[in-house]
């Protein structure tokens, strides 16, 4: 299975990449996905989305999912 991982804004800069691709054997929690993708510790206030919907850190990503990590939003 393939999972696409995206980092935005300050997290992209901190992690040093905008995107990564994982091919795990089975579903993984977003916590595990972060750890597999970067040695950087996940900041406490990190927000997560799967397929462009907010989810929590324990959500399990599945084949084909687009996972995103980003800091608190500051638009408007």
């Amino acid at each position: 299975m393939t999972i696409t991982v995206k980092f935005f804004a300050s997290l992209r800069e901190r992690v040093g990449k905008a995107e990564a691709r994982l091919t795990p054997a089975s579903g993984m929690s977003l916590q595990e996905i972060w750890q597999q993708t970067t040695p950087v510790a996940m900041p406490d206030n990190t927000l997560c989305a799967v397929n462009m919907e907010y989810v929590d850190h324990n959500h399990i990503a599945r084949d084909g999912d687009e996972v995103a990590f980003f800091p608190p939003v500051t638009g408007g």
Partner: protein
Amino acid sequence: MAVEIHAQAFDPWQAMQHYQQQHITPGKHGACASFIGSMRDFNEGDDVKTLSLEHYPGMTEKYLEKICDEARSRWDIMDCLIIHRVGEMHPNDPIVLTAVWSAHRGAAFDACRYLMEELKSRAPFWKKETLKQGERWVDHNTQE
């Protein structure tokens, strides 16, 4: 209902006027409430020279549409418009416009404010400021 992300400067007043002419049936609405957020040249006590706004293409539009749908389900409104700038901008540039048309004023006021509050708390946008001393990410939104 429309949600637009603009990579270039936009004129919020002209946008509202055009949207109304094209989408709002003449004579049916009695109220249009709107909010324009603009770039200030100061924040947290520092002078800000430029502001760079990043978003998550796809998710941002999805959440703005979701927020409009929620407003339409909560209040008796006729239409709404959200425009948000992304990219590099300068002091005084409009950043965001939310506008709501309805028959009566209460729904327009309530829904317009709802759009802004929800946009600020849920829509994936991130601001980075350029100060004299360098760049910094804005890590939280300003007070309401």
